[in-house]
C-alpha cells in the first residue's frame, strides 16, 4: 500500500458547493539522512507547496524521517518516494533494496553513480561533470575565471526564481541553496505528477518521472531526466557570491542545450 486513504471533510472555503464528506488521498514521503541538512528545509518547503495545491485536489502530503543508520530495519513500503541525502555507498545500497520506488539523490555529485544508471535513482543534484563542464564553458570566454558552479543561488531572480527564494527565506529565515533547492524540486515534481496523473503507485510515478516529466523548477526551461537518471538543468556560475553566468553559455556550448553539460549515456 503506497497510499493511505481516509475520509475527511473537504475544506469548506475551497469547495463551498460540496457539503458532503469527500475522500482525501494521503501521500507519504520519507527523508533519509541528517536532519540538520539544508536539503530537509527545501523538502519541507516542497511539502507545504504540495499541500497548498493538494487542498484544491483532495490530496494531502506527509513527511517522515529516518536516519541513515536505521535504513536496514526500516519498512519503506508505504512511501511514494525516498528523499536521500546520503553518500554513494548508502544511496546505492538503499536504491537496490527499493526496486521500482523513486529514490531522489539530493546531494551526491559522484560521476560514477550517473554512469551506473541504477534505474530508480533520480539525481536532482548535478554531477561533478556537469559542474566542471559549466566552468569550462565559462573559461572559454573568461580564461582566468575561478567561478563556482552551483545549481541554485539565493540571488537568482530570473524564471520566477525570485519568488521561490522569497518564500523560502520568509518561511525558514535562511537563504535557499543547492541542497534546499534539490529537496524542494524532488517533492514538487512528485506532487505535480500525482496531481496530473492521479496515479499514486510509486512504480508508475517513477515511470512518469523518467519518461514524461515536464517540470517547472523555477530555473527556466521545463525539466526532465536523462537515461542516466540525471535531471537536466542549467548551472549558475558564481563569483564573490554573485551570479556571473548561466551555463550552457551561448556561443560556447556545443550543442547549445542543457546536454552540453555532464554525462549523457550509461556505461554498459
Amino acid at each position: 500500500m503506497y497510499v493511505k486513504k481516509s475520509i475527511c471533510l473537504v475544506l469548506m472555503l475551497f469547495l463551498p458547493s460540496i457539503t458532503t464528506a469527500a475522500e482525501v488521498i494521503e501521500i507519504d514521503f520519507v527523508y533519509v539522512g541528517d536532519t540538520n541538512h539544508s536539503s530537509l528545509l527545501g523538502i519541507k518547503q516542497g511539502i507545504d507547496e504540495s499541500n497548498l495545491q493538494g487542498q484544491f485536489l483532495n490530496q494531502k502530503y506527509n513527511l517522515d524521517f529516518v536516519s541513515s543508520n536505521e535504513i536496514d530495519e526500516y519498512d519503506f513500503s508505504k512511501y511514494i518516494a525516498v528523499l536521500a541525502s546520503l553518500n554513494t555507498q548508502q544511496l546505492t545500497t538503499l536504491a537496490k533494496q527499493l526496486t521500482n520506488k523513486p529514490v531522489f539523490n539530493l546531494t551526491d555529485e559522484n560521476n560514477e553513480l550517473r554512469l551506473n544508471c541504477i534505474p530508480n535513482i533520480l539525481h536532482i543534484t548535478p554531477s561533478n561533470k556537469m559542474k566542471s563542464d559549466a566552468l569550462e564553458q565559462l573559461q572559454v570566454k573568461k580564461p582566468d575565471s575561478n567561478a563556482k558552479p552551483q545549481s541554485w543561488h539565493y540571488s537568482f531572480v530570473k524564471f520566477a526564481a525570485r519568488d521561490l527564494n522569497k518564500r523560502f527565506k520568509k518561511n525558514y529565515q535562511e537563504k535557499m541553496n543547492d541542497h534546499s533547492w534539490a529537496g524542494w524540486a524532488a517533492v514538487k515534481m512528485t506532487s505535480d505528477t500525482v496531481a496530473r496523473t492521479q496515479i499514486s503507485s510509486s512504480k508508475e510515478i517513477l515511470k512518469y518521472l523518467k519518461n514524461k516529466l515536464s517540470f517547472d523548477g523555477q530555473k527556466g526551461s521545463d525539466m526532465n531526466f536523462r537515461v542516466t537518471g540525471q535531471l537536466r538543468q542549467l548551472i549558475l556560475l558564481v563569483e564573490n557570491d554573485k551570479i556571473v553566468a548561466e551555463a550552457p553559455i551561448r556561443g560556447v556550448a556545443k550543442p547549445n542545450t542543457l546536454d552540453s553539460l555532464g554525462i549523457l549515456e550509461c556505461e554498459n
Binding site: L13, F14, L15, P16, S17, E49, L52, Q53, F56, L57, A160, D163, L164, K166, R167, K170, D192, A195, R196, S214, F215, D216, Q218, S221, D222
Partner: protein, 317 residues
C-alpha cells in the same frame, strides 16, 4: 460686457483641457524604469512619461475609461492616474506584491498578490471587498464580459481558479500545463483560453464543465507563452511568445498555428485597440512596443519605451 467676457474666458479655460486632452493613448508599464510610457495612439510617438514607483507591472482602465490603474508591485499599491491629464490622483494599499489585475464591469478591481497565494478585491477607492485564497504565485486575472466569473491563474500550482461573483468564492480549479500566466474569456463567458509558459501551451477550457477541451503547442522550445487575447470575431487568438520573440497567431478553434509575427525580444504584454485593428506588444528585453496591423498580421511600427516594458493598455473609448 467685460464681466461676460471674463466669464466666457474662464469657462473656456476650464473646458479646454477636458476636451483637448481626451485623446486616444496607449499606456505601458516599464518594470525596471519604474514609470509609465504614454504613447499617442494617432502618431504612435511617446508623448509623456509618468513616474509611479518601484516595479510597475499590471495596468488597466476603469469601465468608463476615466481612471487608469497601475499595480506597483514592490510598493504593494495601486496607483490611480487620470488618463487625460496624466496626473496621479491617488493610490491605495493593494495587499502584498500586487502583480496584475482585471477590472470588473462594476468597477471593482481583482488583483493577484503574487507572493501571498491570494487574490484580493478592492473597490476603486481602495476599500477591500474580499480576499480569495488561491495557489502559489497567482498571476493572470481575467473577468468574463458579464462579470459573473473571474479566472486567477496560479503559476506555481499550475491551476486556473474559477471564482464566481458576487460571492467571490472558488467554483472550480482546473489543472493545466506548467506555469499558467494569462487567461481570456470569450464574449459568452463559457470558454476561456490560457497560456502555460513552461510547457509552451495554450489551453482552451470549458468553464461550465471545468475541463480542458483542447491543448495547442506554441511551437519551438523557446516559445514561452505569456499574454493571450482574442480577435474581435473570436476566430483567432494572439499569444505573446516570450523568448521566441514573436506573437503567435492561432486558430481559436483548432489551436493550430497560423503565423508567427516577429516582434522585439521577450514579448509578454498584449493589448488590442477597441476596433480590433491594432495590437500593441511589450518587448521586455528590447525595451520596445511593437504595433501590429491585424489585417496583415505584420508589425507596422516599433516604439522605444522604458526598461523592461511589462503591461500595456489601450484607451480609445
Amino acid at each position: 460686457m467685460n464681466f461676460l467676457w471674463i466669464r466666457l474666458i474662464a469657462i473656456a479655460f476650464v473646458l479646454l483641457p477636458l476636451t483637448s486632452n481626451a485623446k486616444d493613448r496607449i499606456f505601458v508599464t516599464n518594470e525596471r524604469s519604474n514609470n509609465i510610457s504614454v504613447i499617442d495612439a494617432k502618431t504612435l510617438i511617446v508623448e509623456n512619461i509618468i513616474d509611479v514607483g518601484d516595479r510597475p507591472r499590471g495596468i488597466g482602465l476603469s469601465p468608463d475609461s476615466n481612471e487608469l490603474y497601475v499595480a506597483v508591485s514592490e510598493e504593494n499599491k495601486i496607483v490611480v492616474i487620470d488618463p487625460d491629464s496624466l496626473k496621479i490622483l491617488r493610490d491605495f494599499e493593494a495587499g502584498s506584491d500586487p502583480e496584475t489585475f482585471a477590472v470588473h464591469p462594476n468597477g471593482n478591481i481583482y488583483i493577484s498578490n503574487e507572493d501571498d497565494a491570494k487574490a484580493t478585491v478592492f473597490d476603486p477607492t481602495g476599500k477591500q471587498i474580499a480576499e480569495i485564497k488561491v495557489g502559489l504565485e497567482p498571476e493572470g486575472v481575467a473577468i468574463s464580459p458579464d462579470g459573473k466569473r473571474v479566472i486567477v491563474t496560479s503559476e506555481s500550482t499550475n491551476m486556473l481558479h474559477v471564482i464566481k461573483t458576487p460571492e467571490n468564492i472558488i467554483e472550480s480549479n482546473i489543472l493545466v500545463g506548467s506555469r499558467p500566466r494569462s487567461a481570456v474569456f470569450t464574449k459568452t463567458g463559457n470558454i476561456a483560453y490560457a497560456t502555460a509558459e513552461i510547457s509552451g501551451e495554450v489551453v482552451k477550457v470549458d468553464i461550465n464543465k471545468a475541463k480542458i477541451i483542447k491543448t495547442g503547442s506554441t511551437g519551438d522550445a523557446k516559445s514561452k507563452p505569456k499574454d493571450v487575447i482574442l480577435s474581435k470575431d473570436e476566430k483567432i487568438i494572439y499569444v505573446a511568445g516570450g523568448r521566441a520573440n514573436k506573437v503567435i497567431v492561432m486558430d481559436a478553434n483548432s489551436l493550430e498555428i497560423i503565423k508567427g509575427i516577429p516582434v522585439g525580444k521577450r514579448v509578454w504584454g498584449l493589448a488590442m485597440s477597441s476596433d480590433g485593428q491594432r495590437i500593441f506588444t511589450t518587448n521586455g528585453v528590447s525595451g520596445t512596443v511593437s504595433v501590429i496591423d491585424t489585417n496583415k498580421n505584420e508589425v507596422i511600427k516599433t516604439i522605444e519605451v522604458g526598461k523592461f516594458p511589462w503591461g500595456v493598455v489601450v484607451k480609445d473609448k
